[in-house]
Amino acid sequence: MAKAKNLTDMVRVFDPVQPLSGTELTEFYVDRQSESLAQMETRLRVARKDEPIKLLFTGQRGCGKSTELAKLAHNLRRHYFIVPFSVQRQRWPMVELTYSDLILGMASALFRHATEQQIITHAPAQILDEAFDDIRLFFENTIFGPEISYRQPNRKFENSVKVNALAVELQTKFSAEGVTRDGIRKRLEQRMGELIGKIDMMAEQVRVKYKRPVLFLVEDTDKLDLERARAIFLGYGATLTAMHASVIYTIPVGLRYSTDFNAIQSHFSDSFFLPNIRLKHKDGMRDHDGYEQLANAITNRLALPLIDPVAQTALLEASGGLMRVLIRLTQRAAVRALAQDRERVTLADAQASIEKDRGDLTAMLAPVDYATLAARHLDKRLMSGDAATQQLLHALALLEYRNGDSWCDVNPLLLPSLQELGLAAA
């Protein structure tokens, strides 16, 4: 998507639904100079090829995790054979997701990725046909078995093509049929070691043939409800990290604050948190770098100056450093300007857009929440054991930042309400 030359383009390029990908990732991406992102990338870069790294990655909703993972994949594409796996894109029911679904999904993604025609034709040499035949048999005999009917691939096809077709078939059947899911889960529970063995075998073939180890990027597991996420990552952490391939799992931010987190983390090589972009330091001083990064998120998308500087500043401050909120606020301001037949976004458009988001956020709060918000605005403490604080972090009424230590503050959209109630200084 090209940079915006007018307000109509602006409505398109400020898209709160899609994370950056492809050319947009090169054109619009903002380097947020995040220490944790740099550490995560370094960790993966310096790892020995035979030393798989297992990472957990989290951050508040809308902070930009998906875009950062896409950027990481782009940066590491010469170091790793990247296998992205998105639970939601499979249309698998996340409300009943189990650890075995995750491993099966990752295996299926690896088999599909390694057998896609463009990858095979670009490979220096064909991956061994016997390995594919072995995986084909595993699909037919173990995953589907005699009870589950499935579309068998054409016998004349090469084994790699058959495996690809079976992986597609699995994805379709698994998303659509509850009985199939239950049958497969039951069978795999007893054969999990065998499935992990197949992943290892394929990962090894990929490593030998492509000279790059496998790195799974598991997305959407941060959207799981906390109980399910705890059951998967605490209950089966050892299994999730058993394969001989590197992997990054996204996890719900709430899990990071839970008392179980140390136990969960013990199975993984490391965990990384993506903080929101800071507009202020903990002491209230302006963070110029944060302003610049957020301003770049707007200007990188514009070919012409389509927004008044005061309007831009108002939007940056209201976003609280949440990338997706900034994108939505800017899009809505452009929509308003367009509706009023203007050619630029003015301060009035920005303020109207901010007011709408403020209305949405205040509608979620109960009167009792304001006392907690006021307390956190004063002390900036994350209070990981405090349920009220955690709930407000989850609702994005409180935003987490980091410089040195982690701290939180009230979402700037809510400050006027606190000031009106006399709970914060004007």
Binding site: R61, Q88, V335, A339, A395
Partner: protein, 190 residues
């Protein structure tokens, strides 16, 4: 009944958003009387012409909006359309679960989605499908002050009973809304 100045402004903004986005987007239209909702909808249809509009009403036997998207005619799957969802606040947790966990699939469709919801429904959605809610392009306010007796008489509570008669037809027929509207000649039942 006429739209307030603010509602007219929001309606214009909603139509600008739906007209100019190229990829999937979703928005929430908040209302508290069915009369206002119907007036706004009619104006929206006019403003969006010739973009096709389809509608879907959540009910006990029509819970999966993704399945609905799959039933759209093949041409509608390729062309961008506006899909209007009603009664999401009357849906059960399973619906919120679908919105929350399948948002990538919604994002893969080329359509713009508009959820008409009451203020209570807005809160429910934000709490029960927080990730879906977080990706909204915005909320558009069509609520009116409730003091007016005439407004009370057309509140969504009463509207539910009337809607239920047409719900089935609406839920199962996949036809562009504007054609259906013409046929019904305003007999929306709401």
């Amino acid at each position: 009944m006429r739209l307030t100045l603010n509602a007219r402004q929001d309606l214009k903004e909603l139509s600008v958003l739906l007209r100019h986005t190229e990829r999937a987007c979703w928005a929430f239209a908040v209302y508290n009387t069915s009369a206002i909702r119907d007036v706004a909808l009619k104006s929206l249809q006019r403003l969006l012409k010739p973009i096709p509009i389809f509608d879907f009403t959540f009910s006990s036997n029509q819970r999966n909006p993704l399945a609905y998207l799959d039933t759209l005619p093949p041409k509608a799957g390729e062309r961008r359309a506006v899909i209007i969802f009603f009664d999401v606040e009357r849906a059960d947790d399973k619906v919120f679960g679908i919105l929350e966990t399948q948002r990538e699939t919604f994002a893969d469709h080329p359509h713009s989605l508009v959820f008409w919801t009451t203020p209570v429904g807005r809160v429910q959605l934000a709490r029960k499908a927080p990730n879906f809610w977080a990706q909204r392009s915005g909320t558009f306010d069509f609520t009116v002050k409730q003091e007016d007796e005439a407004i009370k008489n057309t509140s969504p509570k009463i509207q539910t009973l009337k809607v239920s008669g047409t719900k089935r037809a609406r839920s199962h027929k996949v036809k562009p809304m504007r054609q259906k509207e013409k046929r019904k000649k305003g007999k929306r039942g709401t």
